[in-house]
């Protein structure tokens, strides 16, 4: 069904709902100014506002979040400081060191070192993000083919220096946390879209 808003003429004109407010003329003499100050000071309107505060204080029903002792939960897709996740079953690092995040990073703040490990697999030895440069665009999480680098929920970036780095140890889920099931999947950019299993094509293996 086609919906059409009824058009109202909002132009300022004689017929419109606009009107001039009645503003008292500004006091000009010193005596008039003094009278205006006294009138505004003792009119009692001040206590209307103060009473609201007092009333709420006495009720002890306070909604203030006691930051930094308390923190509000943030939206699951919020892009805060990065995390490196582990595989649930084996506990291995998900990162394969493909370097795509480093390549796509538009503020060029990701740096990594990789090498061949004793099992002839690619191992990431160093991984750092310069938070002083990071613009939290989420491209790294989106490009990651392994859902290894994601955005976490840590949004405090206060630092004494501009170049403030997170390194691999800061970002990687500790093994004990993983075992306790405290690693959470990231639903933001680059995560698997619900129902995408159905779109997977199977390779024919006719043997």
């Amino acid at each position: 069904m086609h919906h059409e808003e009824t058009f109202t003429d909002r132009n300022v004109s004689e017929q419109s709902a606009y009107y001039y407010v009645d503003i008292e003329s500004y006091p000009t003499t010193g005596w008039d100014k003094f009278k205006q100050v006294v009138k505004r000071t003792f009119s009692g309107e001040l206590f209307v506002g103060l009473w609201v505060v007092m009333r709420e204080m006495i009720k002890f029903d306070i909604h203030t979040v006691q930051y930094p002792l308390e923190k509000l939960p943030i939206g699951p897709r919020y892009r805060a400081v990065h995390k490196l996740l582990r595989l649930w079953e084996s506990g291995y690092e998900r990162c394969i060191g493909c370097g795509l995040c480093e390549k796509i990073c538009i503020s060029d703040c990701i740096r990594m070192d990789t090498k061949i490990d004793e099992n002839s697999r690619k191992e990431v030895t160093e991984y750092s993000i310069n938070l002083g440069r990071c613009i939290f665009c989420g491209y790294c999480a989106e490009v990651c083919p392994e859902l290894a680098i994601v955005h976490g929920d840590r949004y405090e970036n206060g630092s004494e220096q501009r170049a403030h780095f997170v390194i691999k140890d800061d970002m990687l889920t500790p093994l004990d946390m993983l075992k306790a099931g405290q690693q959470s999947e990231y639903p933001g950019f680059g995560a698997i879209i619900p129902g995408s299993d159905a779109a997977v094509k199977k390779t024919p293996l006719a043997y």
């Binding site: 060191g97 493909c98 370097g99 390549k103 740096r111 990789t114 191992e123 160093e126 991984y127 310069n130």
Partner: protein, 751 residues
């Protein structure tokens, strides 16, 4: 010229060219996976198929020459289907590990798979277990291998190691070391370079960086005089390691060039330094009081010119015995030939059908000359005569005649060779009588080379067209070098032979052209630049003032093909340079490369500015690197001298010869190259010197003693052992005659 058409458009091909070569030259694109310009066609990928109007089936354009009037179609639906199916087959069970594969981003399989739009696997085959092989500097993953055979072809046809082969077994086929359990070769790494996928990779580089992160810096290899083109591939390290720029690997333009192991794996010889003002002042003071500067030929033309200017300004001497030997050899040479330089080049060797090598262990002295010889032997069926006192196992597949002469008798050998080759030439009465008067019996007997061997050379070379004589560096330091040079020049002047003199170091030729060198009489107050001295500066750990190494410098070198080749800065150096020192002495220039345009024109340089020098190959292999030196005319004044009494070398004789892939102090500093410092000899030598495998020995040279381990080398024969020189110092290999009579003692047995 053969005229034919491609897609209806007229194209012409030279005789001997294939359809593919003609098409590429005319700008047509035919996809290939296994084609390499520099080898014979592998013909394994079948992607280059084309249709013609004279054949029913499809033909392989890489190995079929066109006929006059042939109509070739290079793209049609039928060809597209054919090629797409080939790509589908290539992709069957190819591991989907592009995310970590070293080749990702520079992979032929990736490119062609995308080009033909293969997005799913249409065929299936039972996957095999294929173990990854670790072959020292090279790793081989058979599951990534597409069996294009490029590696086998370069190893056999260009390098000459013939170390790998294809094990045929249908789907189980793989590349295996030939006649060995593990790879036993000279580790040139050319197989890594040509591998279109990530199957053959450098074990040191594997998984350390991605192709797209690396910046390629075109440069010239600094290890031998061949002046090979290479790319230093640099990237920053991670923040934890300082974030500094670092060379991750060296690659080459493998379609058009070849690189040896030292160039490919010996790149991490740079050294870092900050500006140390106190040390700089000391260096300036040392130079002010110096009587001479001793330097090595591991130097750019520009810095050599700076040294020459310093010499002129301060009135001091310049010592470089290695370049001086080359200089006097070439002076004697050009006094006969009338040209400042010899006429041959690496390309000339490659195109030869007959090659004679005298006096040098080519496989370790200059691998590129060896590769050029292999190429000539494989592609032109070249006859190769190798004349040397020691047989070389690595040249076994290439040489057709080995002529063994006695140590020290080079003058007699070259005289007899000249006599043989000039037999039918028009050389005038004077020369004819000179050769007639040669005491043939004495020369043959003393050098132990019989008449019949020269007769065989004569017979072999009579019918050949493009002949090259390669002069090894043994002859440069021979006592009778000047006369040997004149004899060699006679051969070049009066026959079809072109001559190549294998200069020892990267810029021996450049130094010999630019500097007026003095005889090294030692003396006090010698400043060494990458060489020993009372005060030393240079790019080594023990240099007092640190100057940039050659991969941290820009400048030019002169190669043995007489090309002036530019090199660039791969890693930044923060310390002082030689130019800063020269500026103190009033030899003013902002940058070292300001001298490129000032290189002496009367020696053949053409005054091009550094920034105008190219350093790349065109798509069809056109060499756009630097420029070729003018071969200027000089006065012909030299005449041959009588051959002197040939010397005898008895007792324990050693030959200064570096192991494969070792050349100098730079290669010694690198982390990947093998550093064999042993004295290597045959069992015959061991028996004569009364030493055994693994014995700690003391070798007494006339110049001093060395302590080494003796290693029995089963590939060696005869009574001469090989002693390395790269670990002793720069230029030591070529400062004196390379053979030396020594005393060898087993340590521990003396007491």
């Amino acid at each position: 010229m053969i005229n034919f058409t491609i897609n209806g458009q007229p194209v012409s091909a030279n005789k001997g060219e294939t359809i593919l070569q003609a098409a590429r030259k005319a700008g047509f694109y035919i996809p290939t996976m296994c084609y390499l310009e520099k080898t014979t066609p592998c013909a394994s990928c079948r992607l280059c198929v084309v249709e013609t109007d004279k054949t029913e089936g499809l033909i392989l354009s890489c190995q079929t020459p066109p006929t006059e009037g042939l109509g070739v179609i290079i793209d049609s639906d039928r060809l597209q289907t054919e090629r797409t199916n080939i790509m589908r087959l290539y992709d069957v069970n190819h591991p989907l590990e592009c995310g970590v594969c070293d080749k990702s981003g520079a992979c032929d399989l990736q490119n062609k798979t995308l080009e033909f739009g293969v997005s799913a696997q249409h065929f299936s085959a039972k996957d095999q277990h294929r173990a990854i092989e670790h072959w020292g500097l090279i790793n081989y993953d058979p599951s990534l291998c597409i069996l294009c055979e490029k590696c086998v072809h370069v190893c056999n046809e260009i390098i000459g190691d013939d170390a790998i082969e294809l094990q045929f077994g249908g789907y189980k086929s793989s590349v295996i070391p030939k006649n060995s359990d593990t790879l036993d070769c000279t580790f040139c790494g050319e197989c890594i370079a040509v591998c279109p996928v990530g199957a053959l990779v450098s074990s040191n580089f594997q998984y350390s960086a991605n192709a797209w992160e690396l910046t390629q810096i075109p440069a010239t290899c600094v290890h031998c005089s061949a002046g090979c083109s290479l790319h230093y591939e640099v990237r920053h390290t991670s923040n934890a390691l300082g974030g500094e720029s670092k060379i991750y690997r060296v690659t080459n333009d493998f379609e058009h060039t070849t690189l040896c192991g030292a160039g490919r794996f010996g790149f991490d010889f740079d050294q870092q330094s900050e500006k140390d003002e106190a040390e700089f002042d000391k260096a300036v003071a040392a130079l002010q009081n110096a009587s001479a500067i001793r330097f090595s030929s591991m130097i750019t033309n520009e810095e050599a010119l700076i040294l020459q200017r310093i010499k002129e300004k301060l009135g001091i001497k310049l010592y470089n015995e290695e370049a001086r030997a080359y200089q006097s050899f070439m002076n004697a040479y050009s006094s006969v030939s009338g040209k400042a330089g010899f006429g041959g080049s690496l390309d000339a060797i490659k195109q030869s059908d007959g090659i004679i090598v005298v006096g040098g262990r080519i496989s370790s002295d200059n691998p590129m000359v060896r590769y050029a010889m292999t190429t000539a032997a494989r592609h032109n069926g070249a006859k190769v005569v190798y004349m040397h006192p020691i047989e070389d196992d690595l040249l076994q597949n290439v040489i057709t005649q080995f002529v063994k002469y006695e140590v020290g008798t080079e003058e007699g050998v070259v005289a007899m060779l000249a006599k043989t080759l000039l037999e039918n030439a028009d050389i005038g009465d004077e020369l004819q009588s000179y050769f007639k008067e040669l005491d043939e019996g004495y020369l043959c007997a003393e050098s132990n080379v019989g008449d019949e061997e020269y007769a065989r050379i004569l017979k072999t070379f009579a019918r050949l067209k493009r002949k090259t004589l390669i002069i090894g560096s043994d002859l440069l330091n021979h006592k009778r070098a000047a006369n040997i040079a004149r004899l060699c020049a006679m051969i070049e002047t009066h026959t079809e032979f072109s001559v190549v003199v294998v200069a020892p170091s990267v810029n021996t030729i450049g130094v010999s052209l630019i500097c007026d060198l003095d005889a090294d009489k030692g003396g006090e107050k010698v400043v060494g630049y990458n060489a020993p001295g009372d005060y030393t500066m240079g790019s080594f750990a023990d240099s007092m003032l640190k100057l940039p190494s050659l991969n941290a410098q820009e400048g030019t070198f002169v190669s043995i093909s007489h090309q002036v080749l530019p090199t660039n800065v791969a890693v930044a150096f923060n310390g002082y340079t030689l130019n800063d020192i020269a500026n103190v002495f009033g030899i003013e220039a902002q940058y070292t490369i300001d001298y490129t345009a000032q290189l002496p024109r009367n020696r053949g340089f053409n005054g091009t500015k550094f920034d105008d020098l190219g350093n790349f190959f065109g798509t069809l292999g056109e060499d756009n690197r630097g420029y070729t030196l003018d071969n200027i005319d000089v006065e012909v004044s030299g005449s041959l001298e009588e051959v002197e009494t040939l010397p005898e070398f008895n007792g324990s004789v050693v030959y200064r010869c570096n192991p494969i892939n070792q050349f100098n102090g730079y290669t010694q500093k690198t982390s990947q190259l093998e550093k064999d410092t042993t004295l290597r000899g045959s069992s015959q030598f061991a028996a004569a010197a009364k030493i055994g495998d693994g014995d700690k020995i003391r070798i007494e040279f006339p110049q001093g003693t060395q302590e080494r381990i003796f290693k029995l080398d089963p590939t060696l024969k005869g009574t001469i052992a090989l002693v390395p020189a790269y670990d002793v110092g720069f230029g030591v290999l070529n400062e004196q005659y390379r053979f030396e009579k020594v005393k060898i003692m087993r340590m521990g047995s003396e007491s």
